[in-house]
């Protein structure tokens, strides 16, 4: 029914997709000149796998950031989730679903704590989620020296390695999660209220929105996404890995992807479509550098430059719009 009115409100897709296409084009050119192949089957598959892990976390991160909050505990939630899943499965297929359920429940509980700290205790989200993250880090460092548990073989074969052509099954999971998040933002009251709370908590309050409840829900959803990413990583690694989250920089990279996707860090503006673009951009840069055998540290420098440049472009645009 809503199709009867033309939608001038639809915004042009975030510039991140332009950047993505440019990166792939230039990357392809450079890699080809270098004598390699960017779009070979193994590189494509690996690119999409990199995007999957980061993407699931980043979609969840998008929700809290749109609500004007932040979750810096996701990296530890990811690590913890791989362990919970792998240990509960204990190498057998019998406990597959209960183990996944347990993992998600643990993550949701952490998200609930994050949300309550931010809303009920009114602790700055940065501090609250770093604090919860450090708590989890303490537990992980104390209890684990290395991989533990063993992922169910069915999960490894399915989620971990199954492909449809060059597209891993897990990447389809990411697309499904992103689609669900998009739907929640666009078509549910919760979504509308979340965007309003992020845009201006006072306006939302004056309109009768219960901001705390909305923000707690967003934190739970974000942690659930991190938990799901943990399950996926357990399927790739075949075991629980106590450092996988932090080594993958899932906390900072997920926020980087969100910001690259055009979501305002202050909240109230943005969406998951842009975030998926941001994730693909980061994964593509990764793939190009891997093909070129670029030094790891230099790689980090380049990624930093790209993120800063992107945010500068957004800030500049926002300023021009304001004046």
């Amino acid at each position: 029914m809503s199709g009867t009115l033309s939608p001038p409100a639809r915004r042009t897709p975030p510039g991140v997709f332009v950047a993505l296409v440019l990166t792939l084009a230039i990357g392809w050119l450079v890699v080809t000149i270098d004598g390699g192949r960017l779009f070979s089957l193994p590189t494509t598959v690996s690119l999409l796998h990199v995007a999957t892990g980061l993407g699931i976390v980043a979609v969840g991160q998008t929700l809290v950031v749109i609500g004007g909050s932040l979750d810096l505990s996701v990296a530890y939630v990811v690590s913890l989730s791989t362990l919970v899943a792998a240990e509960a499965m204990a190498g057998g297929d019998a406990a597959l679903l209960p183990a996944i359920g347990l993992t998600l429940a643990v993550s949701a509980a952490i998200g609930l704590v994050n949300g309550l700290l931010v809303t009920a205790a009114r602790i700055n989200p940065f501090i609250a989620t770093v604090g919860v993250g450090l708590l989890l880090k303490g537990y992980l460092d104390n209890g684990y020296d290395g991989p533990a548990g063993k992922t169910a073989p069915a999960l490894v074969q399915g989620l971990g390695y199954q492909r449809v052509g060059p597209v891993p099954l897990a990447f389809l999971l990411l697309l499904a999660v992103a689609a669900a998040a998009w739907f929640v933002l666009a078509r549910t009251r919760f979504g509308h209220h979340l965007i309003a709370v992020g845009g201006d908590p006072e306006v939302a309050r004056l309109s009768g929105v219960r901001g705390s409840r909305v923000l707690v829900t967003a934190h739970v959803l974000c942690a659930l996404c991190a938990g799901l990413a943990g399950v996926y990583l357990a399927s790739r690694l075949g075991a629980g890995a106590p450092r996988v989250g932090t080594e993958g920089l899932y906390d900072l990279e997920s926020i980087a992807a969100v910001v690259l996707g055009g979501t305002a860090l202050a909240g109230g503006r943005g969406g998951v479509v842009g975030t998926v673009g941001g994730v693909l951009l980061l994964a593509s840069i990764d793939a190009v550098f891997n093909q070129l055998d670029v030094d790891v540290f230099f790689k980090q420098v380049i990624r930093g430059v790209i993120i800063i440049a992107a945010v500068a472009v957004y800030a500049h645009r926002a300023m021009r719009k304001a004046s």
């Binding site: 809503s2 009867t4 001038p8 549910t188 979504g191 209220h193 309003a196 306006v203 309109s207 009768g208």
Partner: protein, 524 residues
């Protein structure tokens, strides 16, 4: 035509409200009939906003009753007032610029179909409401941030209509509108009136009040001093009701002509986003008062001269030499000091000590203080009786201590956090901070806001002493007695311009008339 109104939509009886012992509203009676536009006017601080906040549930009255639609009501929150049918169009619009018109209108009450937000219904309901007030050309799926201020007001009004509001409060609705947009707003208000909606219309601008309202209530010092039928009232009579109080407090003597020195500050044709065509001259030894309504540009003028929101056009000269006041630092180097109206936000660092606060400015620029300040240093010496020149840390502290004594600061200890001091003592610390730089030009914005009566005259005496010692003083004040009592000359701002200049013996009526624009300005 009043008196015949059958049952009022809103009836306030004996509304009283105090904040921290200060009586802001005192026995206010006010009635609004259905379909009536009832204007509320009064000076700054007369209690207009507080009264509106009481009606809309933001504040609860200490005494008195609110009757709405025939029943006594108490609104514990804005939400309760909204649900009862009282909508408010805030002066600062309460909308989300990133969301569409429809999303803003239905925020918090999105229509659902099978548990999901029904976008179709949202859009069509919004379009219907827009059409009902003659704004059908506004597409409901436009992002609010793309709309002009006037259209955003329409969205706020539609939001109120969506709540089935029967009383609409409009707080300074034209403050941000261009002239043609004001006409649109008029038409809209009249249509709402035809629908039987009551409107409480708060405005500084008397023209609008006369154009739109059927009755006018005048607030002064928290009391409703008169409710007048608009048709039987003249602008002059209204202004007399708004002002007219005795000058009760004491003010120091004004400058004698021989005490006036050379021209310290010259501004020619200056302007920025908030100011246009500013021309003024400020002489050593004089206090130039700046009057005007809130938003008229009086504070913007002080901020521009201090480089906080600089002029983008025009010329400024200090002691005959052209200067560019691009930043507060540049202004300080030119010998200009500024005491902000927002003492908590811009004046003091609340958690730091009295001494640290007083040393703030010297620490920031003492290394760059130009030699030309020598003359003003002599002026400051008269106040502080300290030697100018290069000062090390210890000497600097000692000098500030002497300045603190000179401003008669009665703080218990100088290492006390400044937030524990009274407003008057805080202001003295701020003053001492600037005196440490020996400024030649002092800008005061509401120097006695939030300061009790006793400390006020101490501040007034200090301001006058500084002028007598050779500083040029520009003082913004929204309090007419203070403006008239302190100034040697007064300029009145309106809409970002200097509306006119008045001599020291001007009356409150003269100032208000220039500020609201009932007087045709003389050669401005």
């Amino acid at each position: 035509m009043s008196g015949l109104l059958p049952s009022p939509l809103l009836a306030l009886r004996g509304i009283g409200k105090s904040f921290l012992g200060v009586r802001v509203l005192d026995g206010v009676d006010l009635q609004v009939a259905p379909g009536e536009v009832h204007a509320v006017v009064g000076e700054n601080g007369a209690g207009k906003s507080t009264l509106m906040k009481v009606v809309s549930g933001v504040h609860q009255p200490d005494e008195g009753t609110i009757e709405f639609a025939g029943a006594a009501r108490t609104f514990r929150s804005p939400r309760e007032a909204q649900q009862a049918g009282i909508g408010i169009v805030h002066q600062e619009l309460a909308l989300l610029p990133e969301r569409t018109v429809a999303e803003n209108v239905w925020l918090g009450r999105e229509p659902l179909r099978r548990g999901l937000v029904d976008r179709g219904a949202m859009l069509s309901h919004t379009a219907g409401l827009l059409a009902s007030i003659g704004e059908g050309s506004l597409p409901p799926d436009t992002r609010v941030g793309r709309l002009g201020v006037a259209q955003q007001q329409v969205v706020e009004i539609v939001k109120a209509l969506a709540l089935d509001a029967r009383l609409l409060i409009m707080d300074e609705p034209t403050a941000a509108l261009a002239d043609h947009e004001v006409d649109q707003l008029y038409a809209l208000v009249r249509r709402l009136q035809e629908h039987g909606m009551g409107v409480l219309y708060v405005s500084h601008r008397l023209k609008e009040v006369f154009d739109l309202s059927s009755r006018i209530t005048v607030l002064k010092d928290g009391r409703a001093v008169a409710t007048l039928d608009t048709a039987d009232t003249s602008a002059d009579r209204l202004v007399r009701h708004m002002v007219g109080r005795e000058l009760s407090s004491y003010y120091p003597d004004r400058a004698k002509p021989r005490e006036l020195g050379p021209v310290r500050l010259t501004v020619r044709g200056a302007g920025n986003r908030k100011l246009r065509g500013i021309d003024l001259r400020l002489r050593a030894g004089e206090v130039l008062g700046v009057g005007g309504l809130q938003g008229s540009g009086r504070s913007a003028l002080a901020r521009a001269l201090f480089g906080a929101a600089p002029f983008s056009t025009g010329q400024v000269a200090v002691d005959g030499a052209p200067v560019r006041l691009r930043s507060p630092r540049a202004a300080m180097r030119a010998g200009i000091a500024y005491v902000s109206e927002d003492r908590k936000g811009e004046g003091i660092v609340a958690e730091q000590s009295v001494l640290d606060n007083a040393l703030l400015a010297v620490r920031a620029v003492s290394a760059v203080r130009p030699v030309r300040a020598a003359r003003a240093v002599r002026a400051a010496r008269a106040v502080s009786a300290v030697r100018p020149g290069r000062v090390g840390h210890g000497a600097r502290t000692a000098r500030v201590r002497e300045l603190l004594a000179a401003v008669e600061l009665r703080a218990a200890r100088e290492d006390q956090e400044i937030r524990f001091l009274s407003g008057g003592n805080q202001q003295k610390v701020v003053l001492a901070r600037w005196l440490a730089l020996a400024p030649r030009i002092l800008l005061f914005d509401e120097p006695t806001r939030g300061i009790d009566v006793g400390a006020r005259s101490a501040i007034h005496d200090l301001v006058r002493r500084l002028a007598r010692d050779g500083a040029a003083v520009l003082m913004v004040s929204s309090e007419l007695p203070e403006l008239l009592g302190m100034s040697d000359r007064i300029i009145v701002m309106r809409d970002g311009r200097i509306a006119g200049e008045l001599p020291a013996d001007a009356t409150e009526e003269d100032v208000v008339a220039l500020a609201v624009g009932t007087a045709r300005e003389a050669a401005g």
